[in-house]
Symmetry: C2
Subunit: 605 residues, 2 copies
Amino acid sequence: MADYQAPITDLSFLLEHLIKADQLWPQLGLHDADPETAKAILEEAAKLCEQVIAPLNREADETGTHLTAGKVVVPDGFNEAYSAYCEGGWGALGGDAQYGGMGMPKTLVACVEEMLQGACMAFGLAPMLTAGACLALNAHGSDNLKERFLPNMYTGQWAGAMDLTEPHAGTDLGLIRTKAVPLEQNMLGEALYAVTGTKIFITWGEHDMAENIVHLVLAKLPNAPAGSKGISLFLVPKHLPNEDGSLGARNTVSCGALEKKMGIKSSATCVMNFEEAKGWLVGEPHKGLAAMFTMMNYERLTVGIQAVAVAQASYQSARDYASERLQSRSLSGAQFPDDPADPIIVHPDVRRMLMHMRSFNEASRAFYLYVAQYLDIAKYSQDDKTKSQAEGRIALLTPVAKAFMSDMALSAAIEGQQVFGGHGYIREWGQEQYVRDIRITQIYEGTNGIQALDLLGRKVIANKAVILNDYCSEILHFVQHDLSGEWQKEGAKLVECIHEVTALAQELIARAGKSPDVIGASAVDFLHALGLVSYGYLWLKMAHSTEHIQSGGVASEGAYSAEFLAAKQYLCRYFLNRELPRVSFLAERIRSHSDDLMVMPASHF
Amino acid sequence: MADYQAPITDLSFLLEHLIKADQLWPQLGLHDADPETAKAILEEAAKLCEQVIAPLNREADETGTHLTAGKVVVPDGFNEAYSAYCEGGWGALGGDAQYGGMGMPKTLVACVEEMLQGACMAFGLAPMLTAGACLALNAHGSDNLKERFLPNMYTGQWAGAMDLTEPHAGTDLGLIRTKAVPLEQNMLGEALYAVTGTKIFITWGEHDMAENIVHLVLAKLPNAPAGSKGISLFLVPKHLPNEDGSLGARNTVSCGALEKKMGIKSSATCVMNFEEAKGWLVGEPHKGLAAMFTMMNYERLTVGIQAVAVAQASYQSARDYASERLQSRSLSGAQFPDDPADPIIVHPDVRRMLMHMRSFNEASRAFYLYVAQYLDIAKYSQDDKTKSQAEGRIALLTPVAKAFMSDMALSAAIEGQQVFGGHGYIREWGQEQYVRDIRITQIYEGTNGIQALDLLGRKVIANKAVILNDYCSEILHFVQHDLSGEWQKEGAKLVECIHEVTALAQELIARAGKSPDVIGASAVDFLHALGLVSYGYLWLKMAHSTEHIQSGGVASEGAYSAEFLAAKQYLCRYFLNRELPRVSFLAERIRSHSDDLMVMPASHF
């Protein structure tokens, strides 16, 4: 397998030309985040990821994590990598400056996330979960809790974990049984609760890489309303801190078992037992689910980032293998007659797989940065209209980012494995691990089916497609007004697809009024259609920018090689010709007789 | 995970109504294979597979195989299962009666293969490789070699292995380096050779389940022509038999290592070292590749069967889970208000996944039997024209069976895992193993990309689509003449797609004449289009038969429940509405500017 190479050039290109960070960041008052600082951050992160973390990935998958006497034993190198991550201050990158964070924009943090996840996703989950817990705590915790916990979490000295799922309650969290009983006792100046229950699928719920783990736990207060409106959020640390901030008594939180999984084997997926464990309420009683959802948009985007990060690693190896592996001759005649065979990259079918991978990977990267810019705008903009538009975009595009990016990443990684032929199936070559690792991104943080329902039901139909139409107008405007002659011609394919998607939305609004099952029957196809047009849009934006650079329209001082710029244009055409047309098929399927899914009685399955 | 249930009802339905075995077998002079015998064979095979083999599958994946002091240690239960398989005479089922085989038709053998592979694919590979070796030996070996080896291989006392690949030679076998040097010595009455070289990816190349292993090895004779025209086939047994048939000296064949793989972990994938190992030539010198290809059609079909077999196991578990797992409420209102939630099968998106799986699995089963019938006809028919048509169908449809069935099986198994949500990612539930196991079927026995090239280049373009058009005429004739009113209307969708496929073939013939890369650029899409129309055809045939049964047109004596018959019709409509329309997308892609794959210089990747 190839050494992981952080995609710094592409990230810089996107920050500069897609996001136009040099304008966006100052507009939002983010004066610490200038392009020079960003460049230094990307380069430092790349060093850590390439040199310290990525070399652990393959072997750690073989070792896995183990539970010994209640302790999680991590693979060799993880403790050192975690220390290096913390010492570099990376846990603080996106954190709130008030509590010791660096307050960097998501558009920059996301780039670092891709590198970290691409280097070793199983390891990367630990900082990711900590960052998620920090977001939720920062948004809903009392100032007191934030002061006591956030600074230690930003340094990574204390890690975070999210404890939601129970054996019988996954998608449907309203069914959880974990209880929180108020104690007649205060600690650290706040009312204390005793939390009891069992949680499953708790990523990095237990480990010793950090000296403490801060669990954010969903539980029900006595007499809580039934269902999802009766869920509250609690902070339950592994070690209770003392009043002076030092580490105190061990709390009654323990790891009962580790799951054996398909992939991300070197991450610990814990069964966590809470036995009257002490904790504090975060936010309002019974508003726990809403509190979790505040950070969901960030977490879901990061899951999409994980997926493309790993698919990119798969691409790098597949590209190198295709350039080196000699096998058979080109159908148009030997290309390297002095060698025993041609490198397989001469075969159109191998190129098809590589271009498929790359066209989705690079569009996914552009897409997560496109969505991340709205997270920054929504958080930092002072203008209500701008803010509100950004919130709409986030609502609409987050489920697409999570589900479409992960679906496309899986298919990319499957191609990346296929390029290797038989060697792709052998663990030592690394390609099959990428498939196994990516597979979870389609499942956790809300399955992709749930993302699709969220998109079509809540984000499109519920608001009568207002947000969708606003987004599509932006795309149409770009194609029709910003593109030059040749690209405008290419863009005509996208325009057709945009009209298709907006028309579908109207039809679905009408049909769903009569039969709500229409939403479930069409949701995944609709999400994929919106994903495809979004990627078509971003490819045209990228191609447009490269043309602008080539024509000397911007002084990039040779930052991008001629190959890099030309490749964007080749890939844009490839995507519009070969991938975008899938929209018509999806439209036909959505318009097909959707009863076909519902009429067969359950007993016939 | 659900206990594996052999799909006997569906197999019986297809043998009776699709293949019309009661007419086909006697026509071919296969008088031992009557419907009663077939029924008894299916039931006995089902017992063995359900009760003895399937229970080993999950645990064996965890245990894997291990190499200890040159010996392959197999998981618990494998030795006993192998003995039970042999004692039942299953290894002889399709074997040549002249050497102790039962001479049963492939249409029946294929049904048993599905059960075996569905029960435990890693185990099933051992009998499968033996059967393949028997076919090649029977077709090309001398009578002397056949008499000495085949009877012991049919009993399973001796197993078989196929030794083709070398580290630098996979798809391109012309590059192999293994040498065979004639010895001035005879053994068992035939000239002896010394075979030296290293082979990789040798499935069940070493184990002790059988007392001997018969390797069929590709090697080059001294002064062999370069490339694939200089390859010969040798029989190299692990133990050299004595003149009296008893087991003699150990040959210098040894297993150097086992590969660690993504799946089929309990099968042994061996690096085999041959050090002047003694063996005999099978067939003509330098005609080894052709000898291997005789059995390729059988083996490739069996790989497709493996894929659907495992996808069927995945479906069974997913269906059961969807009926039992309570989570959330139906969008149309609670269906089981007394339960804490509805079973997830009420959700359209879960049904979409289940119907997707089942519509492909059942069409795949019909398809492998449809192809198997031509293998029987080609082998046993006395009529030259019938035989030659059958050979055409086999040539055309074998690559589709191998590649389309395995591609669709992977996507089915991914859905089957998705139905389980988070539990689908946990090994103990079994769903993720199916994905890992199926994945190899897209790779081995010629990658699916190679199958597609074979289809489009050799089987369609080279004969100017004569075979394809003959096949498509059969489909058109069926839809237009055999279908009744309502189904004829449904069939109109298929007619359109058939015209699309035949038109594409003509366009590709014309384009390939100018640019051979067009073949590689279009092959996979074309194969998928042909797969889809084939499945549409078989769904209509199945629906048509069920209608015939329902109307009392045949006396099936209640063999098929009303649910079974109705489900076929629901699934047929589902397939035509939701899956078949993909053909237009594939057509658009094939017609797109195919240079987009070739114009980007290799340095830009």
